[in-house]
């Protein structure tokens, strides 16, 4: 007969199951922890609870139909997902997007970056026991979602960026709304910092936790704020500019400590940089101009033209029944999502449906470094590490 008493001292470690329903795993991540007392000996992440087969579904749809699927991968960065997919299709087609549409895209994805970092900051503070920060962050995020709603008609699953440009003209009065947000935001970021940066509990929970050397992070294919907090200034917007990012002035914030606190500081600094980019983008967007490329047979024609031109009507019918066929070949495009390098690889065989669509999901790949980060640390530090890797399970599992 086994009693509790007789079991004492016979085993050195125990296995603890964390998730997939644990609130601090941000969705349905499951981590198996082998513990020696409070210390983690090994950690084994177990994924796939949210696998929806998006890559397979894309193979069965025309190129334009898949845009709505991309929204649902990283649901804190739907515009970024739209962007990387559309850039990849445009590269396959050899399509040039009008400058005005490119600037609108930059403005929207930078607003999205701010909103994603706000959700990260709010939820991470909640994990660390600072509940009020979440309420402040979500207050500002609401303003961004209102902007998205006016631009795209949708708050979260916007599908606003389309192949060849963006879906709609910016709405009337958008400048005032965005400007109002930008004027308010820097002071609000100061507020978050006032609550957290010098806070002793916050520092105690994050400083020196989850340290990894930059060489280890690069070897593990980590990108994004996690890598920049280790002193490696790798940002796709600077290293391989896309969508006219080379015309914008901004810094790539880095730290050298490579702990959870450094990752926090990098993200806060990125919010400030994004505000600068949105301001510049606003100045570059002219009041009038095209929002879509001119490409009959690929970009749906304007409603007005369909009423007067036979060809426009035929193209419209063909685009929405059989789609368009890029020439055979492959294209890979990488953008800087709030979480790191978000890539899209598309192989075309010359038919209206892609042969293969693959997303390089930064959350998925960054999560690989988790066991190295937490082994030897406390269970509570595991929560801090999962938080600062900043995963979105919709993207991890796709």
């Amino acid at each position: 007969m086994t009693t509790v008493e007789s079991a004492i001292g016979t085993t050195k470690t125990m296995v603890l199951n964390m998730g997939p329903q644990h609130p601090s795993t941000h969705g349905v991540l499951r981590v198996l922890l082998e513990l020696d007392g409070e210390n983690v000996v090994t950690a084994v992440p177990d994924l796939g609870y949210l696998h929806t087969g998006i890559e397979k579904s894309c193979e069965d749809k025309t190129y334009s139909q898949s845009i709505t699927l991309t929204d649902r991968m990283d649901y804190l960065n739907p515009l970024g997902n739209n962007l990387v997919y559309c850039l990849a299709v445009e590269k396959l087609l050899g399509l040039e997007v009008p400058k005005r549409a490119q600037y609108i895209r930059v403005m929207m994805v930078e607003l999205q970056r701010i909103s994603s970092h706000l959700v990260w900051l709010g939820t991470h503070a909640l994990d660390m026991g600072a509940m009020s920060v979440m309420l402040y962050c979500f207050r500002e995020r609401e303003e961004i979602l209102k902007i998205f709603e006016r631009f795209a008609g949708q708050r979260m699953m916007t599908s606003y960026i389309r192949i060849g440009g963006v879906a709609l003209q910016p709405p009337a009065g958008w400048r005032d709304q965005v400007k109002c947000f930008l004027d308010m935001m820097p002071a609000r970021v100061d507020e978050y910092e006032a609550l957290l940066t010098e806070n002793r509990i916050w520092q105690g929970r994050l400083k020196g936790v989850g340290r990894l050397a930059p060489e280890v992070l690069v070897a593990c294919s980590t990108t994004g704020p996690g890598l920049r907090a280790a002193g490696v200034a790798f940002d796709n917007r600077k290293a391989f500019p896309y969508s006219s990012y080379e015309e914008f002035e901004f810094n790539v914030p880095t730290r050298t400590e490579s702990d959870c606190f450094a990752r926090y500081l990098v993200r806060v600094a990125e919010i400030r940089e994004s505000i600068k980019i949105v301001r510049q983008a606003m100045d570059k967007i002219t009041d009038e101009g095209p929002i879509k490329a001119e490409a009959p047979g690929i970009i749906p024609p304007q409603r007005e033209k369909m009423k007067t031109e036979m060809e426009a009507l035929i193209y419209h019918f063909k685009i929405f029944t059989e789609g368009f066929s890029p020439p055979p070949g492959e294209a890979y495009v990488a953008v800087e999502s709030p979480r790191g390098e978000l890539g899209c690889f598309i192989a075309s065989d010359g038919s209206p449906k892609p042969l293969r669509v693959h997303f390089r999901a930064p959350s998925f790949i960054n999560l690989q470094a988790l066991p190295r980060m937490v082994e030897g640390q406390l269970i509570a530090d595991t929560v801090a590490c999962i938080g600062t890797i900043d995963i979105v399970l919709g993207e991890v599992d796709r």
Binding site: L47, G48, K91, S221, F234, F345, I365
Partner: protein, 159 residues
């Protein structure tokens, strides 16, 4: 002497050829991207060379994925996207493998980051990676039968 539009790609091709004359089977340029096709038996050594040659310095394995060309043979194309952070350069390595012998050397000894990427390909395409330390399914449940991203697997699933 290979003349390529992309100066970085010319360096890669030349360095690889001077290392091993058989290392580059073909060079494909499309839409500003360069793909270096490597024979399957040389993949790991060529990847090692790309990482360690100071003139190449591809320190980050950004992505690895597979394309199924069914019913063509060799059926599977493996694509590895490499990034050199210090040189701000990208290159794609590609190798083809057939359905009869769907296996290839793992790149985990070169880049530990290949671990989950290869597990994902194993999971969804059923390709074996030789020398992989932990080759298990990653996204699908343990008992799942078949490789859903193969082209002969129906999108609605098998009933």
């Amino acid at each position: 002497m290979t003349q390529l539009a992309d100066a970085n790609a010319s360096v890669v091709v030349e360095q690889l050829r001077s290392w091993n004359a058989k290392a580059v089977a073909q060079v494909v340029e499309y839409r500003g991207e360069t793909t270096v096709v490597v024979p399957r038996e040389l993949l790991r050594a060529a990847a090692q060379q790309c990482k360690e040659d100071p003139a190449l310095n591809f320190d980050l394995l950004s992505d690895a994925t597979c394309v199924d060309r069914f019913p063509l043979e060799p059926r599977f194309e493996l694509n590895y996207h490499l990034v050199s952070i210090p040189r701000r350069a990208r290159i794609r390595l590609r190798t083809s493998i057939s359905a009869q012998h769907a296996a290839i050397d793992s790149l985990v000894p070169v880049w530990p980051g290949a671990n989950w990427l290869e597990r994902e390909i194993f999971d969804l395409f059923g390709i074996q990676f030789e020398g992989h330390p932990d080759l298990r399914r990653i996204l699908l449940p343990e008992g799942f039968e078949g490789s859903p991203l193969r082209r002969d697997f129906p999108t609605e699933g098998k009933r």
